[in-house]
Amino acid sequence: MIKSFIAVLRRDLLVAARRRSDWLNPLVFYVIVVTLFPLGIGPDGDLLRQIAPGVLWVAALLATLLAIEGLFRSDYDDGSLEQLVLSGQPLTVLVLAKVLAHWLITGLPLLLLSPLMAIILQLNLTSIPALLASLLLGTLTLSLIGAIGAALTVSLRRGGVLLALLILPLFIPVLIFGSSAVIAAEGGFAVEGQLSLLGALCLLAVAFAPLAIAASLRIIWE
């Protein structure tokens, strides 16, 4: 089972390496969305600093949503999704591998890019560690929950808007704890509380999301 987990992981990373647009688009989207806010709200540093945590987190959340939509679509179109379901290997493990691969492709780069974005929004450098810690746990949870929506809407040609409608409400707790962690760091308060809650959400997602994803994948062909 572990071998097939690694096999799926390696295959997806290989495919992503060959198709640059898959992981580049969400990153560019993230950068553009963050730069829109100063243009929209004004260059005043204090105001930007105040809204920076929220903006960074909402932009990361939207970028994950944009990236996760096609998670199963390419496999669905070329028929390899059927082979995964019929491979006899536990589907939850294969699905976990696919989500982990997707996170490595889009979640991690998002994480590494966020300090740069924080600087653009005048965030204090001292709260960047909190931002990174919260995004680390947050993007993993977002990918897992987003994958449920991706599995539910994989057979739709234009599932994008529907995916947002289905999944954004479920993103809200992660957003609340994530951005409040950064706000607390800005204010010099302790961040452990928020991070532990984010960790709890992440574990909950790792435990339950694959079950929902596997169940959703099995009903596509009805």
Binding site: K3, S4, I6, A7, V8, R10, R11, L14, V15, R18, R19, S74, D77, D78, G79, S80, E82, Q83, L84, V85, L86, S87, G88, Q89, W221, E222
Partner: protein, 220 residues
């Protein structure tokens, strides 16, 4: 190992509210090759997808080696391979990478991968991304995947599509060898397909459609 492999009893398939066919019963023993007949929309593809558990069945039962399917699912999946319309290969990866992935998924050894690649005549283009291969060559990669799976039951949906003369002969040989080795094959095709020294059973879904009184059986 008694040779009764697949047993289908009183199977009915619906597409939405419309009943494609009902009362279908047949059994398949090792060494037998069964061809499904029926014009488009008679449910050939749906039957094959139902047999490979992709399509859930509301009415009727499928048994593998005597035990009913929902319970024996893992055993059945490990001994069955389905090749559908799409070849189930990633266009950005080369045939070697695709087949290596399938091998690890179905825990087959590298030796089987190499022998399969030779058997389907893909040695030349083994490292080109499949995107650059012709449809016929991609179909051969799917056939190689079939060999790698070492499955007892082959479920082939239009295996001859996009294949040239050599390709067709190759498929006929593969089916022949598989049946002689004790395997079983169920396939649908529009082009003629003859396997020497093996009598292909046929199951006509249209006959079932009109009869509909559940008497349809595999008539030689």
């Amino acid at each position: 190992m008694n040779n009764l492999l697949l047993q289908v009893s009183d199977l009915a398939l619906f597409r939405g509210e419309r009943c494609l066919f009902s009362g279908l019963s047949f059994s398949l023993e090792s060494g037998q090759v069964l061809q499904l007949h029926g014009e488009n929309g008679s449910g050939k593809t749906s039957l094959i997808r139902a047999l490979c558990t992709l399509l859930p069945i509301e009415q009727g039962e499928i048994a593998w080696r005597g035990n009913l399917l929902p319970a024996a699912r893992d055993q059945y999946l490990s001994e069955m391979c389905y090749v559908g319309h799409s070849e189930a290969i990633k266009a950005d990866l080369s045939p070697r990478e695709n087949l290596a992935f399938t091998a690890t998924l179905l825990n087959a050894s590298d030796a089987t991968v190499n022998s399969a690649v030779e058997r389907v005549g893909l040695t030349g283009q083994n490292d080109l991304p499949c995107r650059h291969l012709s449809a016929g060559q991609r179909r051969r990669v799917a056939l190689a995947r079939l060999l790698i799976s070492e499955a007892t039951l082959w479920l082939l949906d239009e295996p001859l599509t996009a294949l040239d003369g050599h390709g067709r002969k190759l498929v006929e040989q593969l089916i022949g060898e598989h049946a002689n080795a004790g395997g079983a094959v169920i396939f649908t095709t529009h082009q003629p397909l003859t396997v020497n020294a093996i009598e292909i059973l046929s199951l006509n879904l249209d006959a079932l459609q009109s009869a509909n009184d559940g008497s349809g059986g595999a008539s030689p």
